[in-house]
Amino acid sequence: MIKCTGLQGEFIKEALNIEVQKGSWAIYFKAQDEADEFFEMLLGFKKPLSGKLILMNKELNTISKEELFALRKRIGIVFPGGGLISNLRAWENMSLPALYHRVDSFEIIKEKGLKLLEELGFKKPPLTRISELTIFERVLIGLGRVFLLMPDIIIFHRIFEGLSGEEKGFIYSFIKSRKDFEGKAMLWILTQKEEEVFIPAVIFDTNEEVAK
């Protein structure tokens, strides 16, 4: 699903070689700049200084903008702090990509979304303003957004930052318990070493080149 060979950038100095297939995978970076750069390269926002990045059998350097947008539709991302849109309310944020990409009918998305909010333990009204949500609640909405989209690849980009141990544990167990994520490729981008305990996955340590 994702293959990097000899990938280097402004911040990623050591050539990065990873291959992510179906299942849960994680990549650990020592610095946030490296993690962000890798994330931006993965989505085609930034070009690598050297090396190749192949996403769903397409080499990112060679595809058009239209093809890139088509690929992004198939990727679900949970951003740090949820990555929510400030002028939309919680439910509107959660359903935005699914409705925009017409993943399902409005009725089905609504039904699935409301059920998801309940399962996520989201206690506030669905139309709560973003400013009234805690970081944890924002991440939950970001997570719900990805579940509604049902993508081929799911990227969790530094999502544990600012969360307590209990909250991190809840998020990981929730994802693990979901049957609808089975058979998908999940990539966790981490910057805090201790977060590895939550991700029993194949870990690429960019500093030690160790896989566990």
Binding site: L71, R72, S86, L96
Partner: protein, 219 residues
């Protein structure tokens, strides 16, 4: 929310068009009264034909589209510029694009269409309140019945004037929203740029309104 683009469009129409209705109606009424007092001091209040002809001419061709443009500019132009620049600085545009949502489709086009449609609707409101408010006052001040003014309106009304008013209001709406969107999306790194961009949106749009007004009048 069914189609998110339709939702953005409806919100724009609600904010720019509907919420501005009372202000537009009141402004139209007051400008109409001012125009009537000025016209009657030159032409005299008893000459219904002249009063109506001048009112129609000024209201439909100039005051309606221009003052509505000013209302949209001060309310929505600044709002669009600050909203988009804040979204950009908060990396929300990045989040949208990362999710495969095109900024043009989702944020730009609905705002352009919403502001332009609202401009046309508000201009009509402004003109109706301006014209009928002024004529109602005229019939109170003079001995001429309101129906006589009504007949004068029918006699002096032309579709050419309506075409001018529609094209002006459409172009003004497009210009204000386009410039404000452009300024909002041009913010780079610092929050201090937000008020600067809002100011540039206002001054740029104002200059463009004057320029477009001159060009259309010359055509």
């Amino acid at each position: 929310m069914r189609d998110p683009r339709a939702e953005v469009l409806l919100r724009q129409i609600y904010f720019t068009g509907l919420q501005a209705l009372p202000l537009t109606a009141l402004s139209g009424l007051l400008i109409g009264l001012i125009m009537l007092l000025e016209i009657s001091s030159i032409a005299g209040i008893q000459s219904a034909g002249v009063v109506v002809k001048l009112l129609l001419w000024l209201n439909l061709r100039e005051m309606g589209p221009f003052f509505t443009g000013l209302i949209i500019l001060t309310r929505s132009g600044t709002a669009i510029a600050t909203e988009l620049s804040t979204m950009k600085l908060n990396r929300e545009l990045f989040y949208l694009e990362a999710m495969g949502i095109k900024i043009g489709n989702y944020l730009v086009i609905p705002r352009l269409i919403g502001a332009s449609l609202s401009s046309i609707i508000l201009t009509v409101y402004f003109q109706l309140f301006g014209l009928f408010g002024a004529l109602f006052l005229a019939s109170l001040l003079s001995s001429i019945p309101f129906s006589e003014y009504g007949e004068a309106i029918i006699a002096n009304f032309s579709f050419q004037q309506m075409a001018v008013t529609f094209s002006k209001s459409l172009l003004f709406g497009l210009a204000i929203s386009g410039i404000s969107i452009w300024q909002g999306l041009s913010v780079k790194k610092s929050p201090t740029e937000i008020p600067q961009r809002a100011t540039k949106a206002v001054t740029g749009s104002l200059f463009t309104l004057f320029l477009l007004d001159v060009i259309i009048n010359l055509l």
